[in-house]
Amino acid sequence: MKYEVPIGPIHPALKEPIMLRFTLEGERIVDVDVIASQNHRGIEWIGMNRNNPVQSIYLAERICGICNFCHPSCLVMAVEEIAGIESPERAEYIRVIQGELERIHSHLLWAGVAAHELGFDSLLHYVWVVREKVMDILELVNGNRVTKAIIMYGGVRRDIKEEHISKIKEMLEYYKQAFSKLAKLFLEDKTIKMRTREIGILPYEEAIKLATVGPTTRASGVKKDVRQDMPYFAYPDFEVKAITPDMLTGETIGDTYDRIVVRLLEVKQSIEIIEQALENMPKGDILAEPKIIKVINQIKKSEGEAVGRYEAPRGEDIHYVKLREGFEYLYAWKVRAPTYINILSWRPMLLDMQIADIPIVAASIDPCISCTNRVIVVKGTEEKILTAEELHKLSVQKTRRLRR
């Protein structure tokens, strides 16, 4: 007999509002449906109707509190390309360092949440203690623990000073030691292995078909990383290589365990990148144009469209921006956050699994629901489900409208 289990939008296993509807046959999951939009805040609308482009940077930060550097940098990249603003070399290096610090904090946060979902709470607490070290550095450099408010059109707002560098190096040493312990705890522990090996498999073909991004796709063996394929900021200097689990374990299965491996290795990679960046950071200005009014005027005068691509901790983030001459706000702004794509992979991962596997498999893509809820179709109280053809038609219409 089939029965349905709804989970969410408020549920202790979910930290964010989203609704999942499972169809079950006994313990076996036969169908998965995701109902989103509980977290829709109308951010793009605000950016197109209320905020000037500089205010929109701080709004973009609040798309997601965890990856609050990647969204504004994505927006800044797109606008800089249209307006022809070039940022100084030193600023590009600081951006790289900030991005990698964020990756360390985000991956450790995820590791803690994953341990919690497995019922391994002492590991959650251990990982979050380790994570506090990078939070201290973020606070030292930015003045705030979570939101950074550091990026600006044409550079960054705060410099990394001499006294910061020694502190950051100290942190990197600490993480190098913590890494071996974390790797041992996560990869050799029998319970974690039993709960994650061969659970929630996303095969290579499915990963390609669903166009998943970030660690989720790399764990399935797809060598895809924006820092490698289309390097931005100062990344061309670092030769980042996409990380796949076979680098450590010698094989790629695409299960939850592999996703842990990829994220742990990425923490190590981030440490190496920061080390190199600190060594090679050139001297000079950090902002191309310190007067904000001038920047706003320059953006207001420019016209065109561009796409910003950024490798966020969860995968590729895309911002499409269109500017029109004399228009005060962003003329068009579209955010495609990584979880938006990755969430679709829940279905192939969860089919034929058990109910008890839902939390860890759902957490294994590192979902960020606050990033995801961008689109909503509401007309009165009428509920309507759009078919693929209708959606395609709507999409074509929107493209035409934007082109006009």
Partner: protein
């Protein structure tokens, strides 16, 4: 003194009503060993029916307004609301958006709210908010 202070180990139910995660990760940071509020018996619980305090984050989107109201009704008395973050107070950066029904006080006007401003507030500030709620609940109990 100690037994009096530990009489009320506050249990908190956390609801994300459309927040950006910034406050949510700071709430968890307050629970983990660096700040460690669990030593006072303050912990997150899985059901509003077990809770003394409901911690709301986020500006309350239209989809969540009804759920926020229902959670408040399910929590037994005496109860207080802890609003974590600026957007729960005024809408924050999201004010004027078309998909907000918030802030919290517009949805549950009769509730006793304690506000922790900040975007996001530091874990220390969240702990202070919980202590304010704690003092209030002790006063209610005395009466």
């Amino acid at each position: 003194m100690i037994s009096k202070a530990f009489k009320r180990a506050l249990w908190v139910f956390h609801v994300n009503s459309g927040s950006c995660n910034g406050c949510d990760i700071e709430i968890i940071a307050a629970l983990t060993p660096r700040y460690d509020v669990e030593r006072f018996g303050i912990r997150l619980v899985g059901s509003p029916r077990h809770a003394d305090v409901i911690a709301f984050t986020g500006p309350v989107t239209s989809d969540m307004a009804d759920k926020v109201r229902r959670i408040y009704e399910q929590t037994p008395d005496p109860k207080v609301i802890l609003v974590v973050g600026s957007c729960g107070i005024s809408g924050g950066v999201f004010h004027e958006s078309y998909h907000l029904d918030g802030p919290i006080e517009r949805i549950i006007p009769e509730a006793k709210c304690f506000y922790v401003p900040g975007c996001p507030p530091r874990p220390e500030a969240i702990i202070q908010g919980v202590i304010k709620a704690w003092e209030y609940l002790e006063e209610v109990e005395k009466k």
